[in-house]
Symmetry: C2
Subunit: 112 residues, 2 copies
């Protein structure tokens, strides 16, 4: 669906950081926010999103709160303490990744 596969491996980083910023969000909301921020470039599909949220919860990085809105269910996720720590790690990893990729594709940046 997305034209590039560069996002593979970065979905957890995105989710953790958004939860870090917005305190609590539900799955559908996260997907919308990602589309909005990337202006449609990245579509976080349900097939990737929901299993990943479940996985992060199992890993103890997220807590869930189920809320009924009318006849519909929403599951709000928020960071645990471990989740907050992991967010810091993930962001550092991302910066390192970007730096390394810049060095790889931009020869001029190698001497920095």
């Amino acid at each position: 669906m997305n034209k590039t596969n560069l996002y593979k491996g970065s979905l957890a980083t995105i989710i953790l950081k958004l939860l870090n910023e917005y305190d609590k969000m539900y799955g559908y909301e996260i997907a919308q926010k990602v589309r909005e921020i990337t202006k449609g470039d990245l579509k976080l599909t349900e097939g990737a999103l929901y299993p990943l949220l479940h996985k992060l919860k199992v890993q103890g990085l997220l807590d869930v709160e189920v809320v009924k809105i009318g006849g519909r269910v929403r599951k709000y996720y928020k960071l645990t303490e471990a989740g907050t720590k992991e967010t810091v790690n993930k962001l550092a990893e991302l910066e390192r990744y970007i730096k390394n990729m810049r060095a790889l594709v931009n020869p001029r940046s190698r001497d920095s």
Copy 2:
């Protein structure tokens, strides 16, 4: 092996760009160059490297030249014309990815 999985999906971009810069390289040399530039952060393992080189060749992005060095074989790869075009695309994709990731993880960068 690598601590982060952010590199997933960016190996082709790396290989194409290095071949674009160095004109021709063989597999082992590419792996060494990547380790050197990233100061050991990224280890392009053989299991990922060689099948990918084969795939890029099948896709018509690379040409191969087999050279005997003493009793040992080296396979030099270089970009085809299509490969050069694809390199441009991949680099544009990478810039877009980085921009989007920055917008996602750095709220302040969203208004730019």
